[in-house]
Assembly symmetry: C2
Homo-oligomer: 138 residues x 2
DNA sequence: CTTGACCATTGACTAAAGTCCACGGTTATA
DNA sequence: TATAACCGTGGACTTTAGTCAATGGTCAAG
């Protein structure tokens, strides 16, 4: 669990991820990110972010775009970290993620198909024998 | 613009779409759905929804899952309806939609690829020569 | 040692997307 | 015509995901 590599302060991390300072602090409060602390004079006042936090930020964005709430994302991250030393658990979490993505992709493809058929129909001058839109289920 | 086919009242429409009564009314207020009105005794107190409203509801769900706000969805719907009698405009809107979907799908695929590589790496016992996560941009 | 840049914490505030509730009107059924 | 089941409207309320502002601590440069 080496965290010292590629360490940065919050403003650097902000630039690296595109998240605002406030959003980062908000995510830390919610447990979505857990940076280290590293002070010089005995105290440790500053948050220190590493490369793994950048990856985490990307994952958060991804999950969010899949419709997960931050609460759910935090839970998933916790589950992931809980089984971090158990490859089986890690793999299970990853596979669940991938299943969600696959499902999402097939939804997208069905929607694409729907729009494609509709476009073809429009371009054909909207003939009477319209394709059935009804199998468009999203 | 026949709207009488497959007409239903709001509770039927709710069952047909899975949207709650309140959500439907909310969408109507926002201009996302525009049902007809059909009363018996001179007045027209009740909203009447048709098959095209069911399709609209599906589209709303789809757009929403793509990250659009209701305001944006309403605008897109208005644009679509504005050029309803112009196949060229309709086709343009449809094509823009499809482009968005394609973009989204390629994002999904890149994420799937990322997770797939990570899964393989975990299952291989997390060897030193980790694949580069860095080309995972979402 | 002071100054400017950076950082943390707290709490108030906001917009979006609903949800809930109370009230009153409408319609089908008995 | 009474009554239950439905419908509409208005407004208050809630959750989520941040954003903003005030206050005060930390650190490097001069």
């Amino acid at each position: 669990m080496v965290k010292s590599f590629s360490a940065m302060l919050i403003s650097q991390f902000s630039k690296a991820t595109g998240l605002s300072l406030d959003t980062i602090r908000f995510y830390v409060r919610k447990g979505l990110l857990n940076p280290g602390r590293n002070g010089k004079g005995g105290t440790n006042p500053y948050q220190v972010f590493g490369a793994q936090d950048v990856t985490a930020a990307r994952m958060i964005r991804l999950q969010q775009s899949l419709g997960y709430s931050l609460r759910e994302i935090a839970a998933l991250g916790a589950e992931y970290r809980a089984g971090e030393d158990s490859p089986a658990r890690t793999a299970a979490v990853l596979r669940a993620q991938m299943a969600k993505l696959e499902e999402r992709r097939s939804e997208l493809e069905s929607a694409l198909d729907f729009l494609g058929r509709k476009l073809a129909w429009v371009e054909a001058g909207q003939p009477k024998d319209a394709p059935s839109w009804e199998n468009f289920i999203c």
